[in-house]
């Protein structure tokens, strides 16, 4: 079941990588941009990074390798990702591809599907189309739990830093996911900070700060860009599903 997604995931990713590479940088499209509404991220967004990031941003956060601890370097060497074309259906050990595991935070941003913010008085929901991943970001003033239960997407709290910047801190990850599609590992001590900056009505800048005392020597930082898609609605994407049978076809 899960193995069948290998190709689907890889192909989707490649199609996405080629399609975004044909587009102009998000920033250059901002002619006469409407102002961002105050303290409101509501809507459907799609990652659209500028052309200069195309070489890596479909798969990882930065062009350069993050500074990893020996523990993380050893784990990273075990990763057999599907992005370089070296590992196929039979040989990859990508947990999303081989087991249909949830992508986790922050890897979910490397799956080429939109996400949606829904704001309520006490929390913000983030719905990711890819495999129905959901995050509940509490905005009622509660602190991060000191000893959280471990989950795929983590436990999140958020606050408005100013009228257009929403800052989310997330902790409490299990160790079954990769940080990105290349297989950079993390531990349960990972802390992900996302600063969602709505630079105008149609554009969102996401600053990532990833810390993990067990895996990273210093914080891993990056900035991704998303665009509002007012006409889009999230649909159903499941990792599980039937897939074209290659081996028995034509036999």
């Amino acid at each position: 079941m899960a193995r069948t997604l290998t190709l689907a995931t890889a192909v989707t990713w490649l199609v996405w990588a080629t399609s975004i590479s044909a587009q102009a940088p998000a920033s250059s499209a901002a002619s006469a941009a409407a102002a961002a509404p105050k303290r409101d991220l509501t809507g459907v967004w799609m990652i659209r990074n500028p052309a200069g990031m195309r070489g890596y941003a479909g798969a990882t956060f930065t062009k350069e390798e993050p500074e990893m601890t020996p523990w993380a370097i050893a784990k990273y060497k075990e990763a057999k990702n599907t992005n370089g074309g070296q590992y196929d259906l039979e040989t990859t050990n990508d947990p999303v591809v081989t087991k249909c595991y949830p992508p986790g935070t922050p890897r979910v941003y490397f799956h080429p599907y939109p996400f949606e913010f829904i704001q309520t008085p006490k929390y913000v929901l983030m719905l990711y189309e890819y495999d129905h991943a959901i995050r509940r970001i509490y905005t009622d003033g509660r602190p991060l739990p000191p000893d959280p239960d471990l989950t795929w997407m983590g436990t999140s709290v958020g606050r408005w830093e100013n009228d257009t910047t929403f800052v989310v801190d997330t902790v409490g990850f299990n160790e079954k996911t990769w940080i990105d599609r290349l297989g950079h590992p993390h531990s349960s001590e990972m802390h992900v900070t996302e600063r969602f900056r709505r630079t105008d009505r149609d554009h969102l800048q996401i600053d990532f700060i990833i810390t993990d005392p067990k895996a990273l020597v210093k914080p891993w930082t990056s900035t991704f860009y998303a665009e509002l898609r007012p006409q889009w609605e999230l649909g159903e994407i499941s990792c599980s599903g039937d897939y074209l049978e290659f081996k028995t076809f034509e036999k």
Binding site: A8, A10, T12, E250
Partner: protein
Amino acid sequence: MKRFSRTPAILAISAAALFTASGLALAHHGAAAFDTDKMVTVKGAVTELVYTNPHVQVHWEAKNEQGVSEKWQGELTAPNKLTRAGWNKNTLKPGDQITVSGNPNKNSPHTLWIRKLVGPEGNSLPLFED
């Protein structure tokens, strides 16, 4: 331009040439199962459109050089993405004449990762959301 001639029904074009012409570039190779150096084009009649997760599947039949009908199948992207590009489950119906271009699967050359699909009305159908 490369030649890839399994049958006269299959036209061969180099993937590199296509991407250059369309302004696209393959930044990475993620689809190890497909031969992205080859692009084949096949004309035939739709037998089934499977509008499903994780990826939409198209099945069709095409005649080979001996005039014998052969089965082909191909993959598109996820149904959500096609829906946003204007598709639905009835976009292709059995009997519709289509021309499909794509990269062949390495182990199953009649299975394509579809890169272009000309529909029954002669126009190239959008395969991606914007």
